[in-house]
Amino acid sequence: MSTVQSPLRKRRINWQKIALIVAFAIVPLFLLILFTYVPFLKMIQFSFYNMSYTKNKGFVGLDNYLRVFTKSEYVDAMLLSLYYMAGAVVQLSLALFFASILSLERIRGNGVFKAIMFFPFLVNGIAIGYIFKYFYTRGFVLDSVLQALGFQLESLPYWLRDQSVNNWSLVFTSVWKYCGQNMVLFIGAIASIDPALYEAATIDGANRWQQFKAIILPGIKTVFMLNLILSITGSLSAFEPAYVVGSMGANGTATFFIKIHQMAHVSQKVGQACAMAMVLMALILIFTVLQRLFFRYVMKDSDNTFNAKANKAKTLW
């Protein structure tokens, strides 16, 4: 009898639970579906049509998608993300560097440094854009500082006008903004590592670099992956720097995201813009998966400690 009763009782409890869960979840779920999934499904639908905001000019199949890959201007725009990806690598390295220093060494004013580094992340992206617009203007902040350091104005490039440097200028603004945030995340992850490990390592005679390699890096693997994925996907969909500092993507700074914006809002080709957005999403997904695969492979290799080997041996047996 008891074996029959208990699942029944369980089910009754579950009903109550479900009612409760539904009651609490229905509003956020409704909002999520209404403002995220419905628009998303609509976007997929629109991407197969030739349509403007007010008019649907008919089904065109995959034409919109084909155009994304055949027109050189879109491919060029996608290649611009390479600048931002390079920036992301620099950004993560810097963040990791500062995070390790601030965690490992007892530096006076530790908190002040953290706050200073984190501050740019709190500033609104558009405001940052305007700050850097003046920063890069000929003869303004950057040029004055460099002149004070002994550079001649004539030998300096026009930071936003010269097409050989302007994308780097924009990438720098994004590195400046996100570096502090990455750093804080790293510091958090490093703080969760047991300090006894460092002590033990020091007793074993490990130097700072060895400690970093053997303790910190494996310890923050997850956060590192998260930061990397966020930075790379952020690079693929870079928008703010090019839109605000680069005058709406003028002068060869139009990223793919800006092209989408122009397509939808200037040329009013909503269908085409939706197709481009879908391609961007697919790209981001591909990159995320590739990164995961890559790191699973790399981490497996670097994880050849005695324990790991022993574990492997065990599972093999």
Partner: protein, 443 residues
């Protein structure tokens, strides 16, 4: 319960009938008279883009309320107007708005008919722009004539005594300014974007003297951007001026960091020689400093068969929301009529009057002997063709196609692409769009 249902049904019916009945009764713009119906009570939510004219516009409301005390007008001035208006056009949270880029056959979907084109065209300027099938849906806020802003003091210092009439003369004058003064000969306002798209306004009347060009000829033209037989005319000549000015370094040095608000004061102080913008900018340049008398306005430097032309047209058109209540619609009609006849907005703003009996401001002094022509409407059945070609070709001529004009400056300045190549690309985009939309092309 049954009673309740019946009541609700009856109420719905009554309301429906009421709205039907009065929809027929809504008078047209020419039928209403200012000064009648003064106890009309309604609230008007007015969406508009002139963020810089808040006080002026609210002053108008106060004056309007002297005659119509019960009509409340609330302005919502929007910085990013064109996009915002397009997104909100189907809502009921506005009563009057400046009509954004909408296909003409869709106007009736959003806006109240103001009257027949035949009647209104006799009373007001530039009515055909927002009309479809002989019905007007928009009343222009003010009219613009397009020419070139210049600083008289700079021109005098450079020794220019006669205003340039051809592209060659214009470039020569810019060179003189560079040589003899410290002013920037031609300020492009590259970074603001829309200031570059403003060059498209000269493609029609100004470049070839044909008021039918923009709406009727261009959509069917084969290679419209190619060099024309009559050298120094046509769209080619318009953009060539910009390319040459950039190539000869007659524009601002660091064009990527130009500042629209800042340029007004620079123009006023004589740090800028010329700027290619519509007449609406004239007053703003005058107000930006101590030397309003130095600001001048001239026709675009292209001469067609010995004559210069200035394209003129309505600025944003006001349209009334079809979803508004009847009182709101009627009140909006009175307010729009009052704005056009009584406010003096066009005169203050240096615009071409909308009221045919209105007064021209003195900035058009230099336009004596120059033909001011408005674009003729599109041929029948082609009302939306230009919009569609613009969208399809992504050139967006006169419709926010700023990027393509910015590219002219880049290529000119850096020498990365020949002007003829750029024009060939545009021709290709245009031909492709014509082919896609199956437009007949006139050889």
């Amino acid at each position: 319960m049954k009673k309740l249902v019946a009541l609700v049904l009856a109420l719905c019916l009554a309301l429906g009938m009421a709205s039907f009945a009065s929809a027929d009764e809504l008078p047209t713009l020419d039928q209403i008279l200012l000064g009648e119906n003064t106890d009309l009570a309604a609230k008007i939510h007015f969406a508009y883009h002139r963020t810089d004219r808040k006080e002026l516009l609210e002053g108008y409301v106060a004056k309007f309320n002297e005659t119509y005390p019960n009509i409340e007008v609330e302005y919502e001035l929007i910085t990013d107007y064109a996009e915002n208006a397009l997104l909100r056009i189907g809502n009921n949270d506005w009563t009057i708005m400046g009509i954004p880029t909408v296909d003409k056959d869709e106007l009736s979907k959003y806006f109240v008919p103001l009257g027949s084109l035949e009647v209104l065209d006799g009373l007001y300027n530039f009515m055909s722009d927002k009309s479809f099938d002989g019905i007007c849906y928009g009343l222009p806020s003010t009219g613009n004539a397009n020419g070139v802003l210049y600083n008289k003091a700079v021109f005098a210092a450079a020794g220019i005594t006669e205003l340039p009439k051809t592209p060659d003369e214009f470039i020569a004058d810019l060179k003189l300014i560079k040589e003899k003064t410290d002013a920037i000969p031609l300020y492009t306002n590259y970074a603001a974007g829309w200031t570059m798209g403003a060059w498209d306004a000269y493609v029609g009347v100004a470049s070839n003297g044909d008021p039918a060009y923009m709406q009727q000829v261009l959509p069917h033209a084969k290679d419209p951007f190619a060099k024309q037989a009559d050298e120094g005319t046509g769209p080619y000549a318009v953009y060539k001026i910009l390319y040459d000015a950039a190539a000869e370094k007659l524009i601002e040095e660091d064009y990527t960091t130009t500042d629209w608000e800042g340029c007004k004061g620079m123009m006023n102080r004589g740090e800028i020689g010329t700027m290619v913008l519509g007449s609406w900018a004239y007053t703003q340049m005058q107000e930006a400093g101590d030397k309003p008398e130095d600001i001048g306005y001239m026709a675009f430097p292209i001469t067609v068969n010995g004559k210069q032309y200035a394209p003129a047209g309505g600025d944003y058109n006001f349209g009334i929301n079809v979803q508004a209540t009847d009182d709101e619609k009627l009140a909006s009609l009175y307010y729009l009529k009052w704005l056009t006849h009584e406010s003096g907005f066009t005169f203050v703003e240096g615009g071409v009057p909308i009221d045919k009996n209105g007064e021209y401001p003195e900035l058009y002094a230099a336009f004596a002997g120059i033909d001011m022509l408005a674009d003729e409407p599109a041929l029948e059945g082609e009302a939306t063709l230009l919009n569609e070609l613009n969208s399809e070709s992504e050139l967006n001529i006169n419709a926010g196609g700023n990027t393509k004009v910015q590219e002219i400056v880049e290529h000119g300045f850096n020498g990365t692409k020949d002007f003829d190549e750029i024009m060939a690309d545009w021709n290709e985009a245009w031909s492709d769009a014509q082919a896609t939309l199956k437009v007949t092309v006139n050889e």
